[in-house]
């Protein structure tokens, strides 16, 4: 009952809660395609029930959140759930449990975007070592996992340098970009289908402001959160853009082109006029530079 109240509070009016009393009822309801997020307490279902739920989810994909206590019964089902579905897990008993639940509900993974992206990236993914491949796949499928390149390296039992090397060999760009893209993927559903203010989505993702989220979205999806909410990209297109940003290194702007040039003599920052160039005498090389 307390868990139910917490889920209700975490939703904060954005959505409705439909209570299912037992596993049989739940299985019956899972046989229809609905855009509903499933919150389960693993302690209330047996591992056999979980296997049945997983096969139904495979047919009618939807987001799953396991809101679990730390007991043997709960863990037995939770392990099967983790092995057979893309569930996100929130364990009871920590001080920020409510915030974790809110984030899990808001950033419940989109059942189509992640798998579509992973299908496009299949070639690169297959070249990654097993541990790293699992972690990266989980990042995009569950919307959950390591939150920084260092954490990704640690979770994959690799050094940071090896991580970068493996990613480069697989044709993927940096680990930083990978994490950012995973973050955007996890927020895609919240941006496009929820009524949560975009400012809140941005801050709950860890960005200082909506503008920061927009600049990330601009790099990764070539759009902004406002535009996405009004006119969501089709999954295939969003996945294609995500895959491109993960595999193609955008040319970096040449050093110095973004900043005004400093005139060496006076130390005054100034812009150079085109007409000036015509009259500027060619710079003389010094002997030391020649050497």
């Amino acid at each position: 009952m307390q868990s139910l109240a917490r889920v209700h509070a975490a939703l904060d009016g954005d959505g409705t809660v439909d209570v299912v009393m037992d596993a049989r009822d739940l299985l019956a309801r899972l046989t229809t395609p609905r855009d509903a997020c499933l919150v389960v307490d693993p302690a209330l279902i047996t591992p056999d029930d979980v296997a049945n739920i997983a096969s139904n989810i495979a047919e009618f994909p939807r987001a799953i959140i396991a809101y679990s206590s730390v007991t043997t019964a709960a863990l037995e089902s939770a392990v099967v759930l983790a092995q057979s579905t893309a569930a996100r897990f929130v364990f009871r008993g920590t001080p920020n449990e409510r915030s974790a639940l809110e984030r899990a509900l808001l950033f419940a993974p989109d059942s189509e975007l992640g798998p579509t992206l992973l299908a496009i990236l299949n070639g690169s993914m297959s070249r990654l070592p097993t541990g790293l491949r699992e972690r990266v796949a989980t990042l995009f499928r569950n919307g959950d996992g390591p939150a920084s390149p260092d954490a990704l390296a640690a979770a994959s039992k690799l050094s940071r340098r090896s991580l970068d090397r493996h990613l480069a060999e697989a044709g993927l760009v940096t680990a930083r970009r990978l994490i950012d893209a995973a973050r955007v993927t996890s927020a895609y559903r919240a941006i496009t289908t929820s009524r949560t203010p975009l400012v809140r989505v941005a801050t709950m993702l860890g960005y200082k402001a909506q503008r920061t989220l927009d600049s990330q979205l601009n790099i990764i999806l070539h759009t902004t959160s406002g535009k996405l909410r009004v006119d969501p990209l089709p999954y295939a297109e969003a996945a294609r853009r995500l895959a491109r940003c993960l595999t193609v290194r955008e040319p970096q702007p040449a050093r110095g082109t973004l900043r005004p040039r400093r005139v060496a003599d006076s130390g005054i920052t100034t812009l150079k006029l085109v007409s000036d160039d015509n009259h500027t005498p060619p710079a003389r090389r010094t002997a030391s530079r020649d050497r």
């Binding site: 109240a5 509070a9 679990s68 730390v70 007991t71 043997t72 863990l75 939770a78 392990v79 759930l81 983790a82 092995q83 893309a86 569930a87 996100r88 897990f89 364990f91 009871r92 008993g93 920590t94 001080p95 920020n96 409510r98 915030s99 974790a100 809110e102 984030r103 699992e134 972690r135 796949a137 989980t138 499928r141 569950n142 959950d144 996992g145 390591p146 939150a147 920084s148 260092d150 954490a151 990704l152 390296a153 640690a154 979770a155 994959s156 973050r183 400012v199 801050t203 709950m204 993702l205 860890g206 960005y207």
Partner: protein, 445 residues
Amino acid sequence: MINVTFLEHLSAARSDAEFNRTAAGLAVLQVYDSIKNGGFDPFIHQDALQRVEADIGAVEGESNVRAALRTIVQMLPFWDSQGCVRVGRQATYTALMIYGQALGDEGEWSIAENVYALVGMDAELDGETWYSAEARLLMGRASRMCADWEASRIAYNRAYELGRVVGDQSICLRARIGDANNLWSRGDFPGATRLLNATARRAKRSCPDVLPRITLALAGVANAAGEYERAIHLAFGLLDSLDDSDELTYQALVDLAIFLTDYGLPPVAAAALRLVERAAPEPRIRRQAKLNLFFLAAQHEPEEAFTELRNELATDRLTIREQTQFALFSAQGLRRFSHFDAAHTAANRALELANRHELFQFVFETEAELREIASARSEKRAAAMPAPARSAHHGTRLSGATPGTYYRFTTGGKVPSRIRHIAKSLETMAAERFAATDLNLSSAL
């Protein structure tokens, strides 16, 4: 690091109960270490876990520590469970943090600090950043309770950084509240207020859920700085904004009671505490409210009310810390009613508990109480004495902040209308909850 702290505790243990509790914790953490480093091997670890279960069985009944240790033992076989998400590890880190909290409830903050440090380090090295951030946040509080200010500051800073990495604003803001609590615990009231105000501005934009905690912390600072009315207003305003189901409601009521007591309105404080005692969902909070009520009875109420509460609490199951408080408050009340021998016995019991469990603040307070008893006995003036001028204890705050030292007597002077309004509102609140209210405050004002 863990072993040294545990071994120190074992060598200093003064009772079988304490020794068994600490030894069971050490045994569980050794098995955890082995599984963490080499993975779970049923041939090796099943036996070890069974032996540890026997150790846990030796821990005295109904202890939160025992339940928490059992949870860790149940989670360890899942450590290496395969799957997209490493649920076994996440559950084990959660169970370890629950163990730390149980140790904190027993007042064993130095062991709790080390358990949190262990989880923080292991989870970070394991790439489980969110769990690491949580552990650092808890470690910050545990270090503060051990008066290890530097360790507390470092833990809160790390929690803040990791909170930013995982994008959890709640962790970042709570780390800042922890920093502010450190500041005012050491007397820097303006610094704490500035930090809390800045945190409140951030929370309004990014994570309004944390705002009530900031308000409560601000009220704590105001009370400690002697701005009692402001503290009462902040805490009462907060109550207005909270939902009944919010866990912070009862914490705010307990803190409000402390502020009202410090202001000199113990009857109103008692009303707030009675509300908590009857309605709080958590037994821990209900028990704390009852203990604080007992403190007020010992200082201000007639002997019948004091004796009734004393009899009730004597049959309740209390943690070590609560047992110490109960013995100390009993001594204070018994002295006030001139039962010097009984008061002396109760104070000695409090001193023994406080010494045995290293509850140093209570050691000082009990020693002061023993001196008061000796002085009252020799002067034979105890019956006519009002509450002691240097009342050492003012109840316990649930927010974990250091109690203030600015107790004021009920002077009988006129209560400002704003405070009177708050008192009446509390009375209405009590009447709404309990059809037949016995919390008649109007007469008290």
